[in-house]
Amino acid sequence: MVIYGVYIVSKSGGLIFNYDHNVPKIETEKTFSFPLDVKLRYENKKITVEFGQRDGIKVGHVLYEVNGIPVTGRQLDDGRDAFEVIENENNYPLNLKFGRPKMTTNEKIFLASMFYPLFAIASQLSPEPKSSGIEVLEADTFKLHCFQTLTGVKMMVVAEPTQAGMDILLKRIYELYADYALKNPFYSLEMPIRCELFDINVKIVLEQIEKSGISNM
Protein backbone atom coordinates (compact mmCIF):
# COMPACT_ATOMS: atom_id res chain seq x y z
CA MET A 1 0.00 0.00 0.00
CA VAL A 2 2.21 2.82 -1.19
CA ILE A 3 1.20 6.00 -2.96
CA TYR A 4 4.16 8.02 -4.17
CA GLY A 5 2.53 11.30 -5.12
CA VAL A 6 -0.34 13.33 -6.47
CA TYR A 7 -0.24 15.75 -9.39
CA ILE A 8 -2.93 18.04 -10.79
CA VAL A 9 -2.51 19.56 -14.24
CA SER A 10 -4.72 22.44 -15.33
CA LYS A 11 -6.68 22.75 -18.55
CA SER A 12 -3.82 24.53 -20.25
CA GLY A 13 -1.27 21.91 -19.24
CA GLY A 14 0.46 23.65 -16.35
CA LEU A 15 1.20 21.87 -13.09
CA ILE A 16 -1.04 23.47 -10.48
CA PHE A 17 -0.56 21.03 -7.64
CA ASN A 18 1.98 18.45 -6.61
CA TYR A 19 2.41 16.55 -3.39
CA ASP A 20 5.08 13.92 -2.75
CA HIS A 21 3.64 11.50 -0.32
CA ASN A 22 5.99 8.61 0.11
CA VAL A 23 9.29 8.92 -1.65
CA PRO A 24 11.74 6.26 -0.54
CA LYS A 25 14.96 7.88 0.65
CA ILE A 26 18.04 6.19 -0.70
CA GLU A 27 21.33 7.46 0.68
CA THR A 28 24.60 5.64 1.07
CA GLU A 29 27.65 6.89 2.92
CA LYS A 30 31.00 5.21 2.49
CA THR A 31 34.64 5.86 3.33
CA PHE A 32 36.95 5.73 0.34
CA SER A 33 40.72 5.43 0.08
CA PHE A 34 42.87 6.84 -2.72
CA PRO A 35 42.42 6.47 -5.64
CA LEU A 36 38.66 6.73 -5.87
CA ASP A 37 37.26 3.70 -7.68
CA VAL A 38 33.94 5.30 -8.59
CA LYS A 39 33.94 7.31 -11.79
CA LEU A 40 32.31 10.71 -11.27
CA ARG A 41 31.18 13.25 -13.83
CA TYR A 42 29.79 16.76 -13.62
CA GLU A 43 26.66 17.19 -15.68
CA ASN A 44 23.67 19.56 -15.50
CA LYS A 45 24.73 21.07 -12.18
CA LYS A 46 25.15 17.76 -10.40
CA ILE A 47 28.08 15.44 -9.76
CA THR A 48 26.84 12.04 -10.93
CA VAL A 49 28.19 8.50 -10.70
CA GLU A 50 29.03 7.53 -14.25
CA PHE A 51 30.55 4.09 -13.75
CA GLY A 52 31.61 1.72 -11.00
CA GLN A 53 28.56 0.50 -9.15
CA ARG A 54 29.26 -0.88 -5.66
CA ASP A 55 27.80 -1.20 -2.15
CA GLY A 56 24.48 0.45 -2.90
CA ILE A 57 26.05 3.30 -4.83
CA LYS A 58 24.43 3.04 -8.23
CA VAL A 59 25.11 4.57 -11.61
CA GLY A 60 23.11 7.78 -11.82
CA HIS A 61 23.35 8.58 -8.11
CA VAL A 62 24.39 12.06 -7.10
CA LEU A 63 27.13 13.19 -4.71
CA TYR A 64 25.44 14.84 -1.72
CA GLU A 65 28.22 15.37 0.82
CA VAL A 66 31.99 15.20 1.17
CA ASN A 67 33.10 14.57 4.78
CA GLY A 68 29.71 15.78 5.94
CA ILE A 69 29.92 19.04 3.99
CA PRO A 70 27.01 19.37 1.52
CA VAL A 71 27.77 19.78 -2.18
CA THR A 72 25.94 22.33 -4.32
CA GLY A 73 26.68 22.07 -8.00
CA ARG A 74 30.36 21.25 -8.09
CA GLN A 75 31.21 23.34 -5.04
CA LEU A 76 31.42 22.30 -1.41
CA ASP A 77 29.62 24.61 0.99
CA ASP A 78 32.97 25.84 2.34
CA GLY A 79 33.86 27.14 -1.10
CA ARG A 80 36.25 24.42 -2.27
CA ASP A 81 35.81 22.68 -5.59
CA ALA A 82 34.58 19.11 -5.05
CA PHE A 83 36.73 17.62 -7.78
CA GLU A 84 39.89 19.23 -6.41
CA VAL A 85 39.16 17.72 -3.00
CA ILE A 86 38.47 14.29 -4.46
CA GLU A 87 41.56 14.27 -6.66
CA ASN A 88 43.95 15.36 -3.89
CA GLU A 89 45.56 12.31 -2.21
CA ASN A 90 46.21 14.18 1.06
CA ASN A 91 42.47 14.40 1.78
CA TYR A 92 42.03 10.63 1.99
CA PRO A 93 40.44 8.64 3.62
CA LEU A 94 37.38 10.50 2.39
CA ASN A 95 33.77 10.11 3.42
CA LEU A 96 31.36 10.47 0.52
CA LYS A 97 27.57 10.41 0.64
CA PHE A 98 25.64 9.46 -2.47
CA GLY A 99 21.92 9.33 -3.13
CA ARG A 100 19.21 9.41 -5.74
CA PRO A 101 18.87 12.71 -7.58
CA LYS A 102 15.91 14.69 -6.25
CA MET A 103 13.47 16.13 -8.72
CA THR A 104 13.30 19.90 -8.52
CA THR A 105 10.02 21.79 -8.80
CA ASN A 106 11.10 23.01 -12.19
CA GLU A 107 11.67 19.49 -13.44
CA LYS A 108 8.23 18.48 -12.17
CA ILE A 109 6.58 21.35 -14.02
CA PHE A 110 8.49 20.34 -17.11
CA LEU A 111 7.40 16.71 -16.86
CA ALA A 112 3.78 17.62 -16.18
CA SER A 113 3.61 19.74 -19.28
CA MET A 114 5.24 16.90 -21.21
CA PHE A 115 2.50 14.51 -20.13
CA TYR A 116 -0.08 16.82 -21.64
CA PRO A 117 0.80 16.21 -25.33
CA LEU A 118 1.40 12.51 -24.59
CA PHE A 119 -2.16 12.27 -23.38
CA ALA A 120 -3.43 13.97 -26.53
CA ILE A 121 -1.30 11.78 -28.79
CA ALA A 122 -2.63 8.64 -27.11
CA SER A 123 -6.19 9.58 -27.97
CA GLN A 124 -5.26 10.25 -31.59
CA LEU A 125 -3.27 7.02 -31.99
CA SER A 126 -6.30 4.97 -31.15
CA PRO A 127 -7.30 2.47 -33.87
CA GLU A 128 -10.85 2.54 -32.58
CA PRO A 129 -12.97 5.63 -33.09
CA LYS A 130 -13.24 7.86 -30.02
CA SER A 131 -10.70 7.10 -27.36
CA SER A 132 -9.81 8.72 -24.10
CA GLY A 133 -6.24 9.74 -23.44
CA ILE A 134 -3.89 7.82 -21.17
CA GLU A 135 -5.70 6.45 -18.15
CA VAL A 136 -2.99 4.18 -16.75
CA LEU A 137 0.70 4.26 -17.50
CA GLU A 138 2.51 1.25 -16.15
CA ALA A 139 6.20 0.75 -15.46
CA ASP A 140 8.05 -1.88 -13.44
CA THR A 141 8.26 0.25 -10.29
CA PHE A 142 5.09 2.33 -10.41
CA LYS A 143 1.74 2.91 -12.07
CA LEU A 144 0.51 6.36 -13.02
CA HIS A 145 -3.26 6.71 -12.91
CA CYS A 146 -4.80 9.68 -14.68
CA PHE A 147 -8.36 10.99 -14.63
CA GLN A 148 -9.46 13.88 -16.80
CA THR A 149 -12.53 15.82 -15.72
CA LEU A 150 -15.12 17.12 -18.18
CA THR A 151 -13.64 20.58 -17.79
CA GLY A 152 -10.20 19.31 -18.81
CA VAL A 153 -8.36 19.26 -15.48
CA LYS A 154 -6.18 16.17 -15.06
CA MET A 155 -5.74 14.45 -11.72
CA MET A 156 -2.83 12.05 -11.50
CA VAL A 157 -1.68 9.62 -8.85
CA VAL A 158 1.61 7.74 -8.92
CA ALA A 159 1.41 4.54 -6.90
CA GLU A 160 2.79 1.04 -6.53
CA PRO A 161 1.86 -1.21 -9.47
CA THR A 162 -0.18 -3.47 -7.21
CA GLN A 163 -2.17 -0.68 -5.60
CA ALA A 164 -5.89 -1.08 -6.34
CA GLY A 165 -8.76 1.36 -6.20
CA MET A 166 -6.86 4.35 -7.49
CA ASP A 167 -9.82 5.47 -9.63
CA ILE A 168 -11.85 5.97 -6.48
CA LEU A 169 -9.01 7.99 -5.00
CA LEU A 170 -8.83 10.19 -8.09
CA LYS A 171 -12.54 10.97 -7.85
CA ARG A 172 -12.08 11.75 -4.19
CA ILE A 173 -9.23 14.16 -4.98
CA TYR A 174 -11.49 15.79 -7.56
CA GLU A 175 -14.11 16.35 -4.86
CA LEU A 176 -11.50 17.88 -2.60
CA TYR A 177 -10.36 20.14 -5.45
CA ALA A 178 -13.94 21.28 -6.02
CA ASP A 179 -14.42 21.91 -2.31
CA TYR A 180 -11.20 23.33 -0.97
CA ALA A 181 -9.63 24.97 -4.00
CA LEU A 182 -12.53 26.23 -6.07
CA LYS A 183 -14.68 27.39 -3.18
CA ASN A 184 -11.82 29.46 -1.87
CA PRO A 185 -12.64 32.94 -3.18
CA PHE A 186 -8.98 33.92 -3.15
CA TYR A 187 -7.89 31.08 -5.39
CA SER A 188 -7.87 32.14 -9.03
CA LEU A 189 -8.46 29.44 -11.60
CA GLU A 190 -5.51 27.99 -13.51
CA MET A 191 -3.09 29.22 -10.83
CA PRO A 192 -1.01 26.88 -8.66
CA ILE A 193 -3.11 25.71 -5.73
CA ARG A 194 -1.80 27.16 -2.53
CA CYS A 195 -4.62 26.34 -0.17
CA GLU A 196 -3.60 24.84 3.12
CA LEU A 197 -6.98 23.19 3.67
CA PHE A 198 -6.64 21.37 0.38
CA ASP A 199 -3.15 20.13 1.26
CA ILE A 200 -4.30 18.92 4.65
CA ASN A 201 -7.29 17.05 3.27
CA VAL A 202 -5.34 15.38 0.48
CA LYS A 203 -2.86 14.21 3.09
CA ILE A 204 -5.63 12.87 5.31
CA VAL A 205 -7.18 10.90 2.45
CA LEU A 206 -3.85 9.35 1.43
CA GLU A 207 -3.04 8.37 4.99
CA GLN A 208 -6.49 6.86 5.40
CA ILE A 209 -5.98 4.69 2.34
CA GLU A 210 -2.59 3.50 3.52
CA LYS A 211 -3.93 2.67 6.96
CA SER A 212 -7.22 1.02 6.15
CA GLY A 213 -7.35 0.49 2.41
CA ILE A 214 -9.63 1.89 -0.24
CA SER A 215 -12.78 0.06 0.86
CA ASN A 216 -14.15 2.66 3.26
CA MET A 217 -13.41 5.73 1.18
Binding site: G133, L150, T151
Partner: protein, 178 residues
Protein backbone atom coordinates in the same frame (compact mmCIF):
# COMPACT_ATOMS: atom_id res chain seq x y z
CA UNK B 1 -23.60 5.86 -3.41
CA UNK B 2 -25.56 6.16 -0.21
CA UNK B 3 -22.40 6.04 1.84
CA UNK B 4 -20.83 8.60 -0.42
CA UNK B 5 -23.68 11.05 0.01
CA UNK B 6 -23.40 10.68 3.76
CA UNK B 7 -19.78 11.74 3.63
CA UNK B 8 -19.93 15.23 2.19
CA UNK B 9 -22.55 16.71 4.44
CA UNK B 10 -24.49 18.91 2.07
CA UNK B 11 -25.06 21.36 4.83
CA UNK B 12 -28.64 22.50 4.84
CA UNK B 13 -28.94 26.17 5.58
CA UNK B 14 -32.11 28.06 6.18
CA UNK B 15 -33.19 29.49 2.84
CA UNK B 16 -34.00 32.79 4.52
CA UNK B 17 -30.31 33.25 5.20
CA UNK B 18 -29.64 32.98 1.48
CA UNK B 19 -32.54 35.32 0.71
CA UNK B 20 -31.32 37.95 3.14
CA UNK B 21 -27.66 37.70 2.12
CA UNK B 22 -28.52 38.01 -1.54
CA UNK B 23 -30.94 40.83 -0.77
CA UNK B 24 -28.22 42.70 1.09
CA UNK B 25 -25.87 42.25 -1.87
CA UNK B 26 -28.35 43.55 -4.42
CA UNK B 27 -29.42 46.45 -2.21
CA UNK B 28 -25.79 47.47 -1.72
CA UNK B 29 -25.17 47.29 -5.45
CA UNK B 30 -28.20 49.44 -6.19
CA UNK B 31 -26.75 51.98 -3.77
CA UNK B 32 -23.23 51.83 -5.18
CA UNK B 33 -23.92 51.82 -8.90
CA UNK B 34 -25.59 54.60 -10.81
CA UNK B 35 -27.86 52.71 -13.16
CA UNK B 36 -29.92 49.58 -12.73
CA UNK B 37 -28.49 48.42 -16.03
CA UNK B 38 -25.05 48.31 -14.37
CA UNK B 39 -26.46 46.34 -11.45
CA UNK B 40 -27.93 43.79 -13.85
CA UNK B 41 -24.59 43.46 -15.59
CA UNK B 42 -22.62 43.08 -12.36
CA UNK B 43 -25.03 40.48 -11.00
CA UNK B 44 -24.58 38.48 -14.18
CA UNK B 45 -20.81 38.72 -13.82
CA UNK B 46 -20.86 37.59 -10.20
CA UNK B 47 -23.01 34.67 -11.28
CA UNK B 48 -20.64 33.80 -14.09
CA UNK B 49 -17.70 33.67 -11.71
CA UNK B 50 -19.70 31.45 -9.37
CA UNK B 51 -20.73 29.22 -12.25
CA UNK B 52 -17.24 28.42 -13.46
CA UNK B 53 -16.41 27.09 -10.00
CA UNK B 54 -19.65 25.52 -8.93
CA UNK B 55 -19.71 23.32 -12.02
CA UNK B 56 -16.71 21.34 -10.75
CA UNK B 57 -18.49 20.79 -7.48
CA UNK B 58 -21.56 19.54 -9.31
CA UNK B 59 -19.54 17.20 -11.54
CA UNK B 60 -17.44 15.86 -8.68
CA UNK B 61 -20.43 15.15 -6.48
CA UNK B 62 -22.82 13.73 -9.02
CA UNK B 63 -20.29 12.00 -11.25
CA UNK B 64 -22.35 12.72 -14.36
CA UNK B 65 -20.87 12.34 -17.81
CA UNK B 66 -20.86 14.70 -20.75
CA UNK B 67 -24.26 15.53 -22.18
CA UNK B 68 -24.92 14.85 -25.83
CA UNK B 69 -28.01 16.96 -26.44
CA UNK B 70 -29.70 19.99 -24.94
CA UNK B 71 -32.44 17.91 -23.33
CA UNK B 72 -29.75 16.16 -21.34
CA UNK B 73 -28.25 19.51 -20.38
CA UNK B 74 -31.63 20.81 -19.25
CA UNK B 75 -32.17 17.78 -17.02
CA UNK B 76 -28.77 18.24 -15.43
CA UNK B 77 -29.28 21.94 -14.74
CA UNK B 78 -32.65 21.02 -13.28
CA UNK B 79 -30.99 18.68 -10.80
CA UNK B 80 -28.39 21.35 -10.06
CA UNK B 81 -31.21 23.74 -9.12
CA UNK B 82 -32.45 21.12 -6.70
CA UNK B 83 -28.96 20.67 -5.26
CA UNK B 84 -28.04 24.30 -4.79
CA UNK B 85 -31.36 26.15 -4.40
CA UNK B 86 -33.66 23.39 -3.20
CA UNK B 87 -36.25 24.09 -5.89
CA UNK B 88 -37.22 21.98 -8.88
CA UNK B 89 -37.97 24.12 -11.93
CA UNK B 90 -40.00 22.77 -14.85
CA UNK B 91 -38.36 22.60 -18.25
CA UNK B 92 -40.86 24.00 -20.76
CA UNK B 93 -41.32 25.91 -24.03
CA UNK B 94 -38.88 24.03 -26.23
CA UNK B 95 -38.23 25.80 -29.51
CA UNK B 96 -39.03 23.71 -32.60
CA UNK B 97 -35.32 23.51 -33.39
CA UNK B 98 -34.60 22.16 -29.92
CA UNK B 99 -31.97 24.79 -29.24
CA UNK B 100 -33.94 26.89 -26.74
CA UNK B 101 -35.91 26.11 -23.62
CA UNK B 102 -37.12 27.73 -20.42
CA UNK B 103 -36.91 26.95 -16.76
CA UNK B 104 -40.14 27.78 -14.95
CA UNK B 105 -39.72 28.44 -11.24
CA UNK B 106 -42.93 28.74 -9.27
CA UNK B 107 -40.96 29.62 -6.17
CA UNK B 108 -37.49 31.02 -5.90
CA UNK B 109 -35.57 31.28 -2.64
CA UNK B 110 -33.78 34.40 -3.88
CA UNK B 111 -37.01 36.34 -4.22
CA UNK B 112 -38.85 35.21 -1.10
CA UNK B 113 -39.77 38.23 1.04
CA UNK B 114 -38.75 40.63 -1.74
CA UNK B 115 -40.82 43.43 -3.30
CA UNK B 116 -39.43 45.65 -6.04
CA UNK B 117 -39.94 49.39 -5.57
CA UNK B 118 -41.40 51.41 -8.47
CA UNK B 119 -38.13 53.05 -9.49
CA UNK B 120 -36.36 49.70 -9.93
CA UNK B 121 -38.79 48.23 -12.41
CA UNK B 122 -36.05 47.32 -14.86
CA UNK B 123 -33.82 45.63 -12.26
CA UNK B 124 -33.30 41.96 -13.11
CA UNK B 125 -33.21 40.79 -9.54
CA UNK B 126 -32.33 37.14 -10.26
CA UNK B 127 -29.79 37.86 -12.94
CA UNK B 128 -27.19 36.01 -10.90
CA UNK B 129 -28.84 32.71 -11.89
CA UNK B 130 -28.38 33.53 -15.58
CA UNK B 131 -24.71 34.17 -14.94
CA UNK B 132 -24.28 30.90 -13.06
CA UNK B 133 -25.86 28.89 -15.87
CA UNK B 134 -23.75 30.62 -18.51
CA UNK B 135 -20.48 30.19 -16.56
CA UNK B 136 -21.10 26.57 -15.67
CA UNK B 137 -21.94 25.56 -19.23
CA UNK B 138 -18.97 27.43 -20.60
CA UNK B 139 -16.68 25.24 -18.48
CA UNK B 140 -18.14 22.14 -20.14
CA UNK B 141 -17.62 23.72 -23.58
CA UNK B 142 -21.19 24.88 -24.26
CA UNK B 143 -21.78 28.48 -25.25
CA UNK B 144 -25.27 29.59 -24.24
CA UNK B 145 -27.26 32.75 -23.79
CA UNK B 146 -29.43 33.05 -20.75
CA UNK B 147 -31.96 35.71 -19.82
CA UNK B 148 -35.07 36.32 -17.73
CA UNK B 149 -38.41 36.43 -19.54
CA UNK B 150 -40.90 36.53 -16.70
CA UNK B 151 -40.35 37.61 -13.14
CA UNK B 152 -42.55 37.01 -10.12
CA UNK B 153 -41.33 40.32 -8.75
CA UNK B 154 -42.80 42.11 -11.76
CA UNK B 155 -46.27 40.64 -11.36
CA UNK B 156 -45.89 37.51 -13.49
CA UNK B 157 -47.25 34.19 -12.29
CA UNK B 158 -43.82 32.61 -12.07
CA UNK B 159 -40.19 33.25 -12.93
CA UNK B 160 -39.11 32.09 -16.37
CA UNK B 161 -35.44 31.81 -17.34
CA UNK B 162 -34.74 31.27 -21.03
CA UNK B 163 -31.65 29.37 -22.20
CA UNK B 164 -30.52 29.49 -25.82
CA UNK B 165 -27.79 27.25 -27.19
CA UNK B 166 -25.33 29.22 -29.32
CA UNK B 167 -22.58 26.74 -30.20
CA UNK B 168 -20.23 24.10 -28.90
CA UNK B 169 -16.78 25.46 -28.06
CA UNK B 170 -14.98 22.89 -30.20
CA UNK B 171 -11.47 24.17 -29.62
CA UNK B 172 -11.88 24.02 -25.86
CA UNK B 173 -12.89 20.37 -25.67
CA UNK B 174 -10.26 18.47 -23.67
CA UNK B 175 -7.97 16.06 -25.53
CA UNK B 176 -9.29 12.55 -25.76
CA UNK B 177 -12.89 13.65 -26.17
CA UNK B 178 -13.09 14.99 -29.70
Amino acid sequence: MSRASARFDTKKVNSELVTLTYGALVAQMVKDLDSTEDVNKQLERIGYNMGIRIVEDYLAKTGTGRCLDLKDTADKIQSAFRMYLGVQPNVVNWSPGGDEFSFLLDSNPLTDLVELPEDLKNLKYCNIICGVIRGALEMVQLDVQCWIIQDILKGDANTEIRVKFIRKLEDAIPAGEE
